[in-house]
Assembly symmetry: C2
Homo-oligomer: 472 residues x 2
């Protein structure tokens, strides 16, 4: 298929698409804060309608709306997952421009959510629009599912998936985002690590006390530190009783895939400004650990007085947030059980564990239609075959969507970030060039999905009918 017309449409609308993204990024939508969520959902729904999608908005309890937008034709459908909420902004002083005042500087758009993942959502809808304006109807049916709670554990999405299984059940799923590596190579992921996000809490006196009382009153900060210190070794290896025995060996096919992946160690070290890697790893062992290593991260600890100026208090309370990134065959439930037993066995029954959210591991075949479409579309746009990750080190509520079919549908993820995008940190940004490129790429993916469907025996006939129907 010749994409000249499509590409010309994208080029002609480059400025309009960029402004559309700026408009979306100007709207704050931190799910944890709640400000502007309704307005954001309405704007996204309008954006979907503008791309020709028939939309529905689902509200689960008091949650933020889940937007469903269907476009294209065919009995063969593919889910395109996205979210309109963004990560908290952190310290405002760390930002060069306002997180919700999208600024374009040197071809980069700076805004919270630009990379994760409003940019990809806007680009994909722009591609749908361009595709239809250039070629008429889409060759497949795309079902956009866009939630507003990705940053707070996707509670509504879980319930939505239970109730609306038929809306989700599809041939495959395209996940929200992805990146180019530090060598500017386009990355495609065929699944995600699981996650379980926990809060550990220790309690002391009813209020912070003068620290002279520390001689005789238990300090919850010490309890927490002592409990945490048993969870990993000083070298950063997870030491929870029984944990390692649940880590599956890396399959031969995955070990092959790992060989294709080269981390730009020097580039990443520069980017992160670090001298070396955990435990002195490098080369293939580093890649293997990134892709198939489970993690236990202290994401935050808060206790006592930590503002400027000394204040000698005995804290009344201490809490740590931990996220575990899970690889086969670790499950969220298993990790919580093991951790509880581990702490109990060491006398830390007083340290509470609160589950904040979780998602299982998801992993798809390279031969699935979504994987093939994504991989085959890459060279034309990105100039080379993509780097394929058998598992993305990140996580998401992928299992919720992909589990709507049995066996679970295949998932693939890619997107427009680059190594400097800093998606969860300050000065989150994307390059406008990447944004436009990703629109063109997504047009090719839509086309290849159509090809995949045509080539599969079961789908070919019905698809043609559907095309006729939808063209009438």
């Amino acid at each position: 298929m010749i994409f000249t017309r499509f590409d010309r449409y994208v080029d002609r609308h480059a400025r309009a698409f960029t402004e559309r993204l700026q408009e979306i990024c100007r709207m704050p939508s931190v799910a944890a804060r709640g400000t502007g969520m309704r307005a954001m959902a309405e704007a996204i729904e309008k954006l979907m309608q503008r791309a020709g999608a028939g939309t529905r908005s689902f509200k689960i309890g008091s949650g933020y709306p889940i937007l469903f937008g269907e476009c294209g034709a065919g009995t063969k459908s593919f889910v395109v997952y996205g979210h309109y909420d963004v990560a908290p902004v952190g310290q405002l002083t760390d930002w060069t421009s306002g997180p919700f005042a999208p600024a374009i500087i040197d071809g980069k758009l700076y805004a919270r959510g630009a990379a994760n993942s409003k940019g990809d959502l806007v680009a994909r809808l722009a591609a749908v629009e361009a595709y239809q304006k250039s070629f008429g109807k889409l060759p497949v049916c795309l079902r956009f599912i866009v939630e507003g709670e990705a940053g707070i554990g996707s509670p509504s999405l879980y319930r939505f998936a239970e109730i609306n299984r038929e809306l989700i059940a599809a041939e495959g799923c395209i996940w929200e985002e992805g990146h180019k590596d530090t060598q500017e190579r386009f990355v495609i992921s065929l699944g995600f690590k699981g996650i379980t996000f926990l809060e550990l809490r220790a309690h002391g006196a009813r209020t912070d006390l003068h620290s002279k009382w520390a001689a005789i009153v238990q300090n919850p900060a010490w309890r927490l530190v002592q409990a945490l210190s048993t969870v990993t070794s000083p070298k950063g290896v997870i030491t929870i009783d029984g944990f390692s025995s649940h880590i599956a060996p890396v399959a031969a096919e995955d070990a092959e895939a790992l060989k294709e992946i080269q981390l730009d160690e020097a580039g990443l070290k520069r980017e992160f400004r670090i001298g070396g890697w955990l435990r002195g790893m490098r080369g293939s062992s580093l890649v293997k650990e990134l892709i198939f290593g489970p993690t236990c991260t202290i994401c935050g600890i808060q206790t006592g007085h930590t503002e400027a100026g000394p204040k000698t208090v005995l804290p009344s309370y201490a809490m740590a947030r931990l996220d575990f990134r899970l690889v086969p065959d670790l499950t969220p439930q298993l990790v919580v059980e093991l951790l509880r037993k581990h702490l109990d066995a060491r006398g830390f029954k007083d340290v509470e564990i609160i589950e904040l959210g979780s998602a299982p591991v998801t992993k798809s075949s390279r031969e699935s239609s979504v994987a093939r479409a994504a991989i085959e579309s890459a060279p034309e746009i990105y100039g080379a075959p993509p780097v394929v990750f058998p598992l993305d080190p990140a996580s998401g509520p992928v299992g919720t969507i992909c589990g709507a079919t049995d066996p679970p549908m295949a998932v693939v993820s890619f997107g427009m970030s680059y190594a400097g995008s800093n998606p969860h940190g300050p000065n989150e940004n994307i390059r406008i060039e990447d944004f436009l490129q990703s629109i063109k790429y997504f047009g090719r993916v839509i086309h290849h999905l159509g090809e995949e469907v045509r080539q599969s025996k079961s789908g070919s006939h019905r698809i043609s009918q559907a095309l006729v129907l939808s063209e009438s």
Copy 2:
């Protein structure tokens, strides 16, 4: 001496004195923040002048003024230490009324600084005023030294003491504050634990990263937790190499004094809302640990994302604030050296130690003039002999003042707090009744100091002369 006239003056001015305290508490003076410090210093200087003191204001570099106020007569002087700065207010939401909107509810005055220690300063100056109005000149010379940096390690006071040794050198020192215990028994302390206040820091990537990177990038929060966990045992015992060998055994005379002290364990447990004491201690071992046990307190830890709402980040930075309360023969310098060696020996050379402030242990004789005056004045006002602590579990820059003479001058501390004053926490408060009582008590202390001086051979003659001179 008959105090009828003095007491009547205090009673008649009870309301005015209380309003004076409210006025002082209305002025925010958190040294760590810096707001309102100059206005506060000016107000305190005026308050001293109102009590008949000749005042001077010392400014050391960019520090907050140190106020010096001298009143009374005689070559025998006693230092009265105080500070006009207050602890940070912490979470405003934890306060029932504004920390700087002094509210009197059920006979209690709620305000940051009311207990620690604007109340005592205002009361002592009120006593000086009442004494002079009732009896003429004071029988001794009181030198009020009031700093504005108690909450930030008293840097100016150290320099001030070096430069103005002759202003400080005195017969003894009355320290800022004290309390009644949970059984309403008046407490007098004959010294203070030392303190060293440190910050431990660990560094990771240049910015918070997506926590997927935790598989290969070192987490400074884990480094800090692992390092800290070696500093105490899970039971809360300090485990720094060589630390315990520097703790002097409790002297026989001090062991005797400890027998007089009875902690109201049940009352304190209720007050703190805790089920039991550290390591299950109770009775005499609990008292001994409170008075003569060194402490290492995590006063605060901050790392990563700790606001509401989940955010899975790999922190770029982690810090903990530790205070050590020191008993004989531990010194601040020794503790820092031992801690550094201890961490280095365990591979934590990357964990920085920053010294934020320190003060040595100070301990005085029960036979010193200040101790005798304080102890002997108590029964008339408080209805019973005071509880005498050989060492106060709290700390302060006492050594700075008391070290102005050789041997160091004796120090004694007492004040108007009660068990529910919560001096470093939210809803700090004093009881108005205690405030007025402490004015009357301080009048007696002034008188007894005069008696002490008269009874000491060396002082009697010169004092009389001074009285004559100052009365002219």
